[in-house]
Symmetry: C2
Subunit: 148 residues, 2 copies
């Protein structure tokens, strides 16, 4: 018979890591919408609800709700029946998110992930890469490039 320990071992995992992951999760949707609105303004001159919804793969009421949250958080502005615009903070977020997305894709490719898969996985992964990890990724990529 194997014995059945009932004392909690001192190597019991701490719950903080889950809180960090939950915090990242709460930002994920906001980040994707901010980036998308930035893309649309660059490509089309404006970001309309319909286009945002189409590119995010959701219905337009869902996009409207997300934009409402962006506005509430001071990341976007809009007036009824007009397009959506990013605030200064929104633009800053969008740029940061875009850069991080690219770095994540590049790192995945650098360790041997097929480009197509890298692009798919990065869309989820990007939101959970801390500043520390991102810096390490960039260092790794710089070294890879130099060594090649």
């Amino acid at each position: 018979m194997t014995e059945t320990p009932n004392e909690t071992p001192d190597n019991a995992p701490q719950p903080e890591r889950f809180n960090q992951a939950r915090a990242a999760q709460a930002m994920a949707v906001l980040e994707d919408y901010a980036e998308m609105i930035g893309d649309l303004m660059d490509e089309m001159g404006e970001a309309r609800i319909t286009d945002i919804a189409a590119r995010m793969g959701v219905t337009h009421p869902t996009a409207t709700k997300a934009v409402a949250r962006l506005k509430r958080e001071g990341l976007a502005m809009s007036r009824p029946y007009r397009g959506v615009f990013l605030t200064e903070a929104g633009v800053a977020l969008a740029d940061r998110v875009r850069g991080r997305h690219r770095t994540v894709v590049d790192l995945l490719i650098a360790v041997g992930v097929p480009a197509e898969t890298a692009e798919l996985d990065a869309e989820g992964l990007e939101h959970y890469v801390s500043a520390t990890s991102l810096a390490a990724f960039e260092m790794f990529l710089a070294n890879s490039a130099a060594r090649s």
Copy 2:
């Protein structure tokens, strides 16, 4: 003046990647609870709601709800006021998730992320690593080990 294009460019991103990320997200909580229940059964001989909640960093009603969902999905079983057990499918999921978690941590460390940060980030990242990427990670780690 910069011109304002209004035609959607043919390089417009496809929304499938967001759907993939959303699908992964829907599994994330289930995966973490399954892994945690597996850990508790190994370490303590049983998984009690209170211990699950403490380790996940949530209140016990939240843990109860998650377990209810695990049961609904055929991954766990339990009777009132008794501990929680994993089904065969639950054990399989827990094992898969545990292995993937380790591989993600190892990959992060291999590309230069500090061990402590790697552990924190992995808790969120793991759920968005596809089978294809995971295989690439393992290949990369095997090659790194060989080359060192």
